[in-house]
Amino acid sequence: MSLSTEVREYSGVTIVDMTGRITLGEESGHVRDTVRGLLDGGATKIVLNLAGVTYIDSSGLGELVSAYTTSRNQGCEIKLLNVQAKVQDLLQITKLHTVFHCLTDETEAVTSF
């Protein structure tokens, strides 16, 4: 299952709804291209909604970390929304839960910036 993304704006926050897998290859590239496009467009608050993402491998995690660091270096903040159980397990295993701010409510996510 490939990755699809839809971008929308909500109260000044850019929300990226993601569905599918984030794995080595085109899917990771899709995440990179999407975030770069948003940064080029001037986004400063990004929420990656992972409600539809049930699978991420180490390359996908690496891409999320790259998105986080690249954004931070450009004055943009990225947060994660609706991280699914198996992905949450990976964040714990890799201790990336200490890096990413993960939320479960969209309104809360938007107002958390």
Partner: protein, 143 residues
Amino acid sequence: MTDCRKLRLSLESTVDSIDAAELIVQRLAELNGFNEDQVHQIGMGVRETVANAVKHGNAFNLAKRVSFDAAVDEAAFEVTVTDQGAGFEPEDVADPCEGDNLLRASGRGLLMMKAFFDEVEVGRCAGTGTRVRLVKYCAKGAS
């Protein structure tokens, strides 16, 4: 060993091979009674191993192959993945959970293998390349 299943493949050094290996071991695990979580863990650990072989070992070189052996019996699910790359020393791999390494884009594959399998052995081949052996001991159907 009445339900033993064995599989040997020679894979191209491509992303498609990573996907294929993952699907094959997941199916093998399903057919041999492993539960959904175990199937997921076996698939993910194998995915990381084959991805390392394809990406870091063989560097996507189509002239190089990845050897893949899987065997299941009553006691364990065992996988051995061998590449034809330059090899590496596992102790040289930085801890991805330590300090600034947390913000590195790569280096988490070995950690994930160890998280999902009970035994992970990394060794050099006699000629060139790296051999990784994964073993998962678990009661089938257990949570």
